[in-house]
């Protein structure tokens, strides 16, 4: 009997115009988004490789180490291969982090800043399609699942037989879900083929595992709206009412909660603005600069006698002093900036966590955070990259300070040519799958709990449903 109900549900759905419409739209949107994602990734990868080569060339073309101090070097953020599927905040945050002696490392030159039109519409990635379009389809497939049968009179007719209600709702749920998956699965399989055959896309085993987990998240997300649809359909007496209620809940889940959560977090845990932070850092930098000039003057006065007596010894002493003193001042600036930054980051993290946890009431937020973490295109990855650049900055400045003082000839004023062989390189260890999984666990849990709650709600409501 269960098989008959499932079969009927699938047949009823796939012979309906809404199925044809859903299938065509899904196929076009999913394939288009993955194709665009793959093409974009290819272009970004090329751009990244070209930027690395250009950076190297620029460094080598510098006449001396002093010119490496300002504006410094550039660290490019590598594009993420799964950004082809889940673009995340890749286009909104910068792609380059300049590292120099003075300024604190930050990402600049985002795709949106270079072409603001992109920011108007956002990326059309697979995650967006699942989050917005397919969740609406899940509602479209379920809003009349129960109440529609009541309106058609088929529910009464079915239940005039010895059909247990639990089996009927189970059959409808399974059949309905399969019907929803068909228009999704076929384009998704084709998308996987695109990912496999795309020439500029090399997915590692870990990437495939991440991709599968992202897909699992997509299915869970759609299941949330599917079971919600069943639930509302089993709680209403008119399909038009059911559709309106579901549309309202969808707007709240997808549009309202994520934005309200961010605004609430900003009110509850305010953080200083970026300008305030920059002003603080600049003020300290100027203070240290003045201190430095004063210190240098004092040292010069104290050792001026040696310059005439022993010019060679004086020069070595001066070199040593400058190297140590510059290192000391830079460390001071770095320590102060690090303290300000640490405090700022702590406050920001706390606000971020509050916003994330508040918005997780919405499955749309859980999907966004979870899939971005899995695809390494979310806030976590951005923070990790920035942290790695900030950790790299003192290493780089130490190396540069030492090179600058060693290469300068104070008598002739000549500066030595730069050699980049021993320049420390920025490294970003890839985030492990287990770490990502641990971070996305709350998102999985939120969605699974919602599915259970809504489905049990639908089940219990249907057992008591007035079929008249």
């Amino acid at each position: 009997m269960l098989r008959d109900i499932i079969k009927k549900e699938i047949l009823d759905n796939i012979t309906s115009p809404k199925f044809v419409f859903t299938f065509l739209l899904c196929a076009v949107l999913i394939l288009l988004s993955v194709y665009t994602g793959v093409t974009n990734y290819g272009a970004e990868q090329k751009e990244y490789t070209a930027a690395l080569a250009l950076n190297r060339k620029n460094l080598e073309a510098q006449p001396n180490y002093q010119s490496l101090a300002y504006p410094g070097i550039k660290i490019n953020k590598p594009p993420q291969v799964l950004g082809a599927v889940v673009n995340g905040i890749e286009e909104a945050v910068g792609r380059v982090a300049p590292v120099n002696l003075a300024a604190d490392a930050n990402l600049i030159d985002s795709k949106y800043s270079s072409n603001p039109v992109f920011a108007v519409f956002g990326p059309l990635d697979l995650m967006f399609i699942v989050k917005i379009v397919l969740s609406l389809f899940a509602i479209l497939f379920t809003y009349d699942a129960i109440v529609g049968e009541k309106e058609k009179g088929t529910l009464k007719l079915a239940l005039s037989n010895d059909v247990p209600r639990d089996r009927l709702i189970l059959g409808k749920a399974i059949g309905g879900y399969i019907s929803l998956l068909i228009p999704l699965l076929i384009p998704l399989i084709l998308s996987l083929l695109i990912l496999i055959i795309a020439p500029n896309l090399a997915l590692s085993r870990g990437d495939w595992a991440r991709l599968l987990l992202v897909f699992l998240m997509f299915f869970l997300y759609l299941s949330v709206f599917f079971s919600l649809g069943l639930f509302v359909s089993a709680r209403t007496t008119r399909s038009s009412t059911s559709f309106l209620v579901l549309l309202f809940v969808w707007v709240v889940f997808v549009m309202v909660i994520p934005k309200v959560a961010v605004l609430t977090a900003a009110q509850v845990e305010p953080i200083p603005s970026v300008h305030e932070i920059t002003a603080k850092k600049d003020a300290f930098f100027q203070q240290v600069q003045q201190e430095g000039q004063k210190g240098f003057r004092e040292w010069s006065q104290k050792n001026s006698a040696d310059a005439a007596k022993d010019p060679k010894g004086y020069q070595d002493k001066l070199k040593k002093f400058i190297e140590d003193y510059q290192q000391e001042l830079t460390s001071k600036i770095d320590a102060n900036n690090a303290a300000i930054e640490r405090d700022y980051q702590m406050k920001k993290k706390s606000q971020q966590n509050l916003a994330v946890n508040l918005s997780r009431i919405s499955p749309a937020s859980a999907l966004s955070f979870g899939s971005m973490t899995m695809a390494r295109t979310g806030v976590d990855e951005f923070d990790r990259f920035l942290a790695s650049v900030r950790a790299y900055k003192p290493i780089y400045t130490k190396w540069l300070n030492s090179k600058m003082t060693q290469s300068i000839n104070f008598q002739t004023g000549e500066m030595g040519k730069i050699k980049l062989d021993d320049m420390p390189q920025h490294r970003l260890e890839p985030d492990s799958l287990s770490k990502s999984l641990a971070r996305t666990l709350p998102d999985f849990v939120v969605m699974i709990v919602m599915i259970i709650v809504f489905f049990v709600g639908a089940y219990v409501s249907f057992l008591r449903y007035d079929v008249r």
Partner: protein, 242 residues
Amino acid sequence: MLETINLTKVYEDGQLAVDGLTLKVEPGEIFCMFGANGAGKTTTINLLLNFIPPTSGTALIEGIDVVKDPLKAKRHVSFVSENVTLYGNFTALQNLDYFSRLAGKRTLTKKDYAEVLDRVGLQTEAFDRRLKTFSKGMRQKLGIAIALVKDAPNVLLDEPTSGLDPQSGREFLEILLQMRDQGKSVFMSTHDIFRAKLIADRVGFMRKGKMVMMKTRKELEGEDLTELYIQYMEEQPAAAGA
């Protein structure tokens, strides 16, 4: 056999829909229930199918209490509803096949279905047509076919002749008479006095949930049923006549 014993239904809003109904429809009998809209005819059917629980009293199908063992009771009853639209994307055969399977008839062939559809007067060319192209009468015929396929010993019909043209109505009456001849208990709620008069073994009049009059075919001889209907619907409820 269909039976109700002092069956009463009071809705949550306090409306008394069925008031102490005691009725027995014997095998091989057609019972036609008359009453204005809201008199309690459909509620009686809903109670017999356990779609709603009774406030008090008992409803029995083949002696099985429909509240205590609803699934077992439903095995012995077919149901034809008024205005059932069925599945518009399915063909007549697909609709019939699905509901037959729900009724436990899994071995029927396309030929069996065709015979039943033919019996209810559905044109052969319509068998494989999607129901969304069907008229109300054609859908009603399919609804009757679904009840026929189940072949249960009891049949509940809720205003089944609405939407049927005269020819189809006549064919439907023949089907009901065949059912009676097969020994089935038929309970039909209807406004169609003309057709009911032709086939009913007994008729009952309901008013505000109460059975206000019941007459056998013999008692109806020489009486104008239309006149009786109007008279009983207008009068204050009296004790049920025999």
